[in-house]
Amino acid sequence: MAMAPDTRSPAPGAGAKAEPPLTAGLRMRSVALRWDTAVVILLIAVFLVGLGTTDGFTGSGNLAFAFNDISEVALIALPMTLLVVAGEIDLSVGSMLGFSSALAGSLWNAGWAFETIVPVVLVIGVLGGLLNGWLVTRVGLPSLAVTIGTLALYRGLASVVLGSDAVTDFPERYANWTANTTTVPGTFLTYPIVLFIVLAIVTAFVLHSTSFGRSLFAIGSQEDAAFFAGIRVKRYKLLLFVLTGLFSAFAGIIFTLRYGSARADNGTGYELLAISAILLGGIDFDGGKGTLVGAVAGILLVGVLRNLLTLNDVPNEVQTVVTGLLLVASVLTPRVIGVITERRQRRAAMAAGPAGGAVT
């Protein structure tokens, strides 16, 4: 486990009292923040490179397309960020997207009104999230294992519901709402992305300015300590799983409308896209560390980078390599920074000599 130096127990096995989680979280944030800043700078740099080198980058509707193209992943990544901060993971989101799409398709075929289909599908998303959360919090299973299971389960249900059909002809007025040609007048912002921005601001507020958000960091860095500090660990986790389920189902609706095709295999692999985007944004896989600004920057970076590389005819394999390298760098850099800081501090302490420790 890549524990950060600050939160590492002084001696393995020793029942040493860990630092209070909150201060640990804060201290680590200063390190994580550097990576966040790096990702934001990288995002701006990629953007400027695009402006400078590639004709089509700001061409007819390209930016609207590029951002709209990651809207589903981006929406899923918001609750996923909270979940990872709290030290859990949900790998079933891509399958839930597919299940939601398949269900919407089969109900549409059965003659249901689209206005009815949406809330029903969202309820299914909530139930899927409840199942994940229940298995993790009540039965006490690790979320990685549980959601690998439900990844297969929900994808299987999607195939059961819709088989190999592809359902089309969804209502145009809703489909237009998701189209990359429909933008807020005068901007390149499509409506799914506007929704994402609003929800991202709300999520940032919740994560960084409420006691709920601080509790999530506490749970992620020291679950037991958080529990004994009176935080309702299980209830919070259950809520987060429900949220990822709900958002995934909603992303399924957007996906279905945007592509005009409801299929059981929609959103295959989206769980990894969403998770890798937020890891790239400096959210620590072990929980307890990260900022939402970083996560959002990570998501946008993935989208802009993919668009720019495709515009320049960079083959898919190379794109995958670039994304992979970035991801490794994002996981590695904070560790390296942490180790360097620790050494410096130790050296500083040594230099202070025996007199060190005297509090002035």
Partner: protein, 363 residues
């Protein structure tokens, strides 16, 4: 620690409330399938411009082939031939595409080709509808759209290059395997992805052909899907033979599937008991035809498919054709072609490959 029942009760109440809301909404008049405008009735997207069959072929045209996935060996052959053909009329063509054959993966490439202002896009669609929006945008901007190998919805392209009539492919595969198994016993199909337009059309015609009384002792027991993935197709073949040990024949109308199935049969006890037929490339299947695992398989010439695609795209971009029925154009060495119903251009009948002729073909 347990979730307190109060909160669980609350969750249930919320869910119930949302359901109630949903049901009450259903009672109101919402938008249902019947109110939706039926777009599929529209014909191909032929422009209103008149075709001028005598217009000169434009030079310096830029075209892009967008296959289902970039590492599909069969489509690589088609695209390479198309790229070479473009050179013969001083155009430039390239191949771009996704690494997975999912419905959504081609969309961002279409956007890119619009930004690059290509003269024509040639696409083998993973999903007939998912690519529609961006293709329509492309056509709005004057980019010509040709589908090949696997069609899009009819109003999202101007011309569809059909390798052979779907009906003749589907029916001939059943006729061939019928002969091979003596019109008796169980057969199965090993297809690509569940939504591949071309596969599903052929399978429909196979089922049609099977309704003929002469096949009354043959049953199609299963359609398995290997997703055009070698490993998965191999496993599906194994699964078929496990589930139906008395299986007499397998039809795999996809080059990836037939090669994987042949590889499995070659090393299994079923080698001489199960007939394998379908669509494959001579280079992939040579070994299995020579060692007797496979007696015959068929395919059209993929080189000619790509070649014809390039010329059709050039004819569109030069104004020789618009995609309307009855338009004619000349495709270099392949001669004259006529656009049929719904913008279809048919390449010709598939070739049957066996021990006698396989060494004359290299692709």
């Amino acid at each position: 620690m347990t979730i307190r029942t109060a909160s669980r009760g609350r969750a249930a109440a919320t869910a119930a409330a949302v359901c109630a809301l949903a049901v009450s909404l259903a009672a109101c008049s919402g938008t249902t399938k019947n109110d939706s405008k039926d777009d599929s009735a529209g014909g191909p997207a032929a422009s209103s411009a008149k075709a001028d069959p005598n217009a000169p072929l434009k030079k310096n045209l830029t075209m892009a082939f967008l296959p289902k996935q970039i590492n599909n060996p069969y489509e690589k052959i088609v695209d390479d031939a198309g790229i070479a053909a473009a050179k013969s009329f001083q155009g430039t063509a390239k191949e771009v595409g996704p690494s997975d054959a999912s419905a959504s993966s081609q969309v961002s490439y279409i956007n890119t080709l619009i930004q690059q202002r290509q003269n024509a896009i040639l696409i083998a669609a993973n999903d007939p509808n998912a690519v529609c929006g961006p293709l329509k945008q492309a056509m709005k901007q004057g980019i010509k759209v040709v589908s090949y190998d696997s069609d899009t919805a009819k109003d999202c392209r101007q011309v569809f290059i059909n390798q052979a009539s779907s009906e003749s492919i589907g029916r001939s595969l059943i006729q061939h395997i019928g002969e091979q198994v003596g019109y008796k016993g169980k057969i199965a199909i090993l297809s690509a992805t569940q939504n591949a337009t071309n596969q599903n059309t052929w399978i429909e015609y196979m089922k049609e052909e099977l309704k003929d009384p002469k096949y009354k002792n043959m049953q199609l027991v299963k359609v398995a899907y290997g997703d055009d993935d070698d490993q998965k197709s191999f496993q599906q073949t194994q699964g078929l033979l496990q589930a139906y040990p008395d299986l007499k024949g397998i039809i795999s109308p996809t080059t990836v599937g037939i090669a994987a199935a042949a590889r499995y049969l070659d090393d299994s006890s079923y080698k001489d008991k199960v007939v394998l037929n379908g669509l494959g490339t001579p280079d992939q299947m040579r070994k299995y035809v020579k060692d007797g695992t496979v007696a015959q398989f068929s395919l059209w010439n993929p080189n000619n498919l790509g070649y014809l695609g390039s010329y059709a795209a050039a004819a569109l971009a030069s104004g020789q054709i618009t995609g309307a029925q009855g338009d004619t154009f000349t495709a270099g060495k392949l001669g004259k072609f006529t656009v049929g119903k719904d913008g279809e251009v048919i390449l010709g009948a598939p070739t049957v490959f066996d021990k006698a002729n396989i060494d004359q073909f290299h692709f």
